[in-house]
């Protein structure tokens, strides 16, 4: 087995992408994801790949669009304000059925906001990544090892369903170091992409990568076809981790960094004999509705914990079909909630 190494989340994301066959990275510096770009700048020349520092996030995402059109695995990374700028390209890639990976190492917002960790881009990632009817695959790692594992899964899913995928991380996960085991490079065969705009060599009709359809019926048909794919994804790609849920009276729902805090609080509660569990969504789109709905049949109440003003809480309510009360606790602006704060909220709800 490969050696365990200590890596920063940002660097682990980069190395994992290279090992997943991504040799084309286009970025623009922004805290707290800059180590990712710096790592790529160092590593890409060693693997014969492309690292390019674009003039803006707009340019970077459109370079990704170009490289993805050519049929290669391409990615960009940024943090919240930069991802807003990438929204244009993400919408065009969704409308052109292009696979690519976008990484958001979230920081506090809105506006320039701050640079400390946040989860306030949940809505942007899952619902409003750009204009038009579309979804992107959203993966939410909560450890550095999971960042490594999900990069590869995200590229595979993006290729499989021909759509953009996003890793929604945050400044805490990006900056922290944990031990990781990296996969060997080149374990996977590249996916055939007969649709790519890579030169027809006078052997096939020309391929056109496009999102413009001036006939409403044609555009509707294409969107409907895409939503058929989304249905398959919602049925087969939901992922969540359940922790001590079986006998729980109260279940905390949290993803990413806040799930780590929540887990500490759940452990503390269990030490005190309280029946508390954790459901941790790993995919945010598709949202793991099935796991939550199943838990709602035997759990009394839920508490979502987020580093935002409560952007996921409505999805949890919809998933449990409002059969049980779903409460919310969060900190925002770059504040990481403490396990003690979460435990306090758990205690309050258990006493209600």
């Amino acid at each position: 087995m490969a050696e365990k190494v200590l890596m920063k989340g940002n660097e682990a994301l980069a190395e994992a992408a290279i090992r997943a066959g991504c040799h084309h990275f286009f970025g623009y510096p922004i805290t707290p994801q800059t180590e990712l770009a710096a790592y790529m700048a160092k590593r890409m020349p060693q693997v014969g790949g492309t690292y390019l520092q674009a003039e803006s996030e707009l340019a970077a995402i459109n370079m990704v669009l170009g490289a993805a059109s050519a049929g290669v695995r391409a990615m960009t990374s940024s943090s919240s304000p930069g991802v807003s700028l990438k929204g244009e390209g993400i919408s065009y890639m969704a409308g052109s059925d292009l696979p690519a990976l976008i990484i958001n190492v979230q920081r506090g917002g809105p506006g320039l906001g701050g640079i400390q960790p946040s989860q306030a881009d949940y809505w942007q990632a899952t619902k409003a990544g750009g204009h038009g009817d579309f979804q992107v695959l959203v993966f939410a790692p909560s450890t550095v090892q999971e960042m490594v594992d999900l990069v590869s899964d995200a590229f595979d899913a993006a290729d499989k369903y021909r759509m953009p995928a996003m890793i929604l991380a945050d400044g805490m996960l990006g900056q922290m170091m944990e031990p990781v085991i990296l996969p060997e490079a080149g374990e996977k065969q590249p996916v055939e992409k007969p649709w790519a705009a890579n030169g027809h060599q006078n052997k096939r009709p020309h391929n056109v990568i496009n999102s413009l359809y001036l006939t409403p019926e044609k555009l509707e048909d294409l969107v409907l076809e895409r939503y058929e794919r989304y249905k398959v994804i919602e049925a087969t790609e939901q992922r969540a981790e359940e922790y001590l849920v079986e006998d729980a009276e109260l279940v905390v729902v949290a993803y990413g960094a806040s799930a780590r805090v929540a887990r500490s609080a759940v452990n503390k509660a269990r030490e005190q004999g309280k029946k508390v569990g954790l459901i941790r969504p790993i995919t945010l789109w598709p949202f793991p509705k099935d796991t939550l709905k199943a838990a709602a049949s035997h759990v009394g109440k839920m508490l979502t914990v987020e580093m935002s003003m409560g952007q996921m809480v409505d999805d949890v309510r919809l998933a449990v079909e409002c059969k049980i009360p779903v409460h919310f606790f969060g900190r925002t602006g770059g504040i990481i909630p403490t396990p003690a704060e979460v435990l306090g909220e758990i205690d309050r709800l258990l006493e209600e």
Partner: protein, 184 residues
């Protein structure tokens, strides 16, 4: 082992992040669960810098240490910021060259070490952090206590992992500093 939650704090350039990294690597090489989380901000040099290191037998939940059981303080603002948060029974290591103040709490064990002065005296300029690491491992990580997790040999391997190849000549100085700290 009992969970070890350390805050290393000082100003940028003192090597607090590096000290944390050496400790984290020692945890890794000892087969423990661990995390290392830096503070980050716009200051590149001279501003406050700190990092949280957790070492445990169980997976790490929140990597942000808000109630450390070990505090390594390398300047006064850091001591002032974190001293009240240290858990009762915790250990506090202070660079007394830069901190001219005594801890008023009597429920923590405090070591006052003139690390910066010693580093300059012994030709180990810039390695006050490693002198403190030597003491940290002697008192806690390699000791007999309930938070011990590491051997001296493992710490040395961790050091080798952390000193970059282009600064290989620094390895011997780091070792000297650790030995010096361990015997204080």
């Amino acid at each position: 082992m009992k969970d070890l939650n350390i805050v290393f704090a000082g100003f940028g350039g003192q090597g607090v992040l590096f000290a944390g990294k050496v400790t984290a690597y020692a945890g890794l090489l000892s087969g423990k669960e661990l995390s290392w989380l830096p503070s980050y901000g716009p200051e590149m040099r001279g501003g406050t810098a700190n990092c949280s290191v957790c070492v445990s037998d169980a997976p790490i939940g929140s990597p942000l240490v808000t109630a450390p059981n070990v505090l390594v303080a390398m300047n006064l603002p850091s001591l002032d910021k974190f001293i009240d948060a240290v858990e009762p029974g915790g250990v506090v290591l202070i660079d007394s060259t830069l901190i001219d103040k005594k801890v008023e709490r009597d429920d923590v064990t405090v070591y006052y070490l003139p690390a910066t002065a010693l580093s300059e005296e012994k030709g180990l300029r810039g390695l006050a952090n490693m002198i403190l690491i030597g003491k940290l491992f002697a008192a806690v990580c390699c000791g007999e206590g309930e938070r011990a997790f590491c051997s001296w040999e493992t710490l040395d391997r961790a050091l080798q992992k952390c000193v970059p190849a282009r600064k290989a000549e620094m390895l011997a100085y780091n070792r000297q500093a650790i030995q010096l700290g361990a015997t204080l």
